[in-house]
Amino acid sequence: GTTKKSVADDDAGAHASHAKADPHAPTKKGLTVAFLPKQVNNPYFTVADKGGEQALKQLGSSYKEVGPNSATDTSGQVSYVNTLTQQQVDGIAVSAQDPGALCTALKQAMKNGIKVVTYDSDTNTGCRDVFVSQAGAEALGRSQVQLLGRQLGYKGEIAILSAAQTATNQNTWIGFMKDELKKPRYKDMKLVTTAYGNDDAQQSFQQTQGLLQEHPRLAGIISPTTVGIKAAAQYLSGSKYKGKVRLTGLGTPDDMRRYVKNGTVDAFELWDPAKLGALAAHASVALSSGQITGRRGETFEAGSLGTFTLGDKGVIDLGAPTVFDRDNIDRYRF
């Protein structure tokens, strides 16, 4: 059979034959943009979607949020895409649980004139117009390693505690982390294993325990997921490893405040999810207004966020993540 990659490229090629973008087209009002997160009731997505809501309000369009109750209910997410297609919304901003599973439904939606923006977690390239990336995947992956390296003095065994084994964004970041670790500066740092906590507090907890038992000389853990880092921090803070094993990764300031203050965690990072949502909203409206079509080099205005340029394969980068530590954490609430 053929390989997955070549098909994805075919799709991208087909996609490139759209109408031309007009950066000066007027911004349409009265649109309906639906946000479809991986999971409703997930605090991270709630903040992101709230950002989208505010942006849409300022743009004079309306917002709605639908989504499955569980982050692994892929068929539920597909059903929601279908429902939104039925309801003829103007744009869908979706964080895909699965890069492939949503494709058929999203293409169906695009065929019906709906603009599709992915945010936070992408689908295959051909199944959406643009992807709003929470910071360049490369920057995110490398910066977490850099962060931990600094805390460890570039020495010792480290491990990664990820979410699901299938999470696209996690895997991309981990790829860049491994690449970063190849640099000579990290020759004394060794990645011993990658564990998966499935974004479940209890499982992440047990995986952390296991990591520490199996690798008694473990010096640091990177957990590029908000659930994972929180569970790991809670375990460390109640164990003898507190303050001895360094932990960093992606977390929200509200979750991590206690652990930063009690010395379990020195520093971690994250983008501002509200901005991510807002940018997705702007991108969606820009698509509907014809200001962009998803091709490399197109630019659009995103209100107070500034001007953004589309990169390769229709990817829009939010910018560098913020590093939180004891000094600045109290300035952030989310």
Binding site: V40, D73, S75, S79, D98, A101, L102, Q108, Q165
Partner: protein, 334 residues
Amino acid sequence: MTDSALVRAVRWDTVVGALLLVLLLLSFAFVDGFGNALNLSFLIGSTLPVALIALPMTLLVVSGEIDLSVASTAGLSGAVMGALWNAGMAIETIIPLCLLLGVVCGLVNGLLVTRLGLPSLAVTIGTMAAYRGIAQIVLGSDAVTDFPGRYLDFAAGRIGGSFVPYALPPFLVLLAVAVLVLHATPFGRSLFAIGANEEAARFAGIRVKRHKLWLFTATGLLASATGIFWALHYASARYDNATGLELSVVAAVLLGGISFDGGRGTLGGAVAGVFLLGALQNVMSLLNVSAQSQIVVTGILLVASVLGPRLARRIAAARTARAVRAATALPHAS
């Protein structure tokens, strides 16, 4: 005589059928976007996996057993299908192999239950984890999406512009076969006896173990067929495909009036239950009912499904008792 007609009329499977009908009629009339062909095909397509597994599951439950590993079997055959496809095997060879794998999974369950006499609930909770785990080992974090278009179209497409997915007619054939098997063959008769009183069935010369083994095998086969359908329908083969499907199947089958004590229920009821839940979810999404509220509604429906007939029966019984009392009171009034 009238009371039994009444009691027969309030048999739960007929009630579920009627409810489904009412729901469909009301939705056609009052819910925007429900009645068009696209939505109906979505609805049927997303309900088919549950319906497909519900067929053998109903037979299994009637005979007093249960198989909770179905979703994992589906996931496993999807994963193996993906892995083999990646390895370059022809899809025409892969599909029979995957079906064979399903048969093996079912056989393992069946042998553990019949040869060792273990409770099927316990066994299949175990194999549920085992099969899913094997799927994870086989496919890891890959998501295979590039299956041949012909097959994808079959699983996701519909006949012409109508609402009928290509996969519906084959399902209807299977349904007819299952109905005949359960309700009109000696085999089906035996299942009811086994479920209601296994010992009496043995004394009547029914080969209890062999029957059960057949059922587990058939369940495995159809579960893997579902897994293949799922992977093609969503154009994504991942190890965690169809996670949680077993609970949907169990809920739908229960809603259809199949007693988990064994020995009672009809396939019509089970299938009506499946489509009632499917249609209800579709309608509620179209009406912008949140995922959380949908869950509550599902729960209430389940509780009502058992309380309802009971109340009806009690009322009917009270009424006939009163009638009889009135009849007997007169001649003995002296």
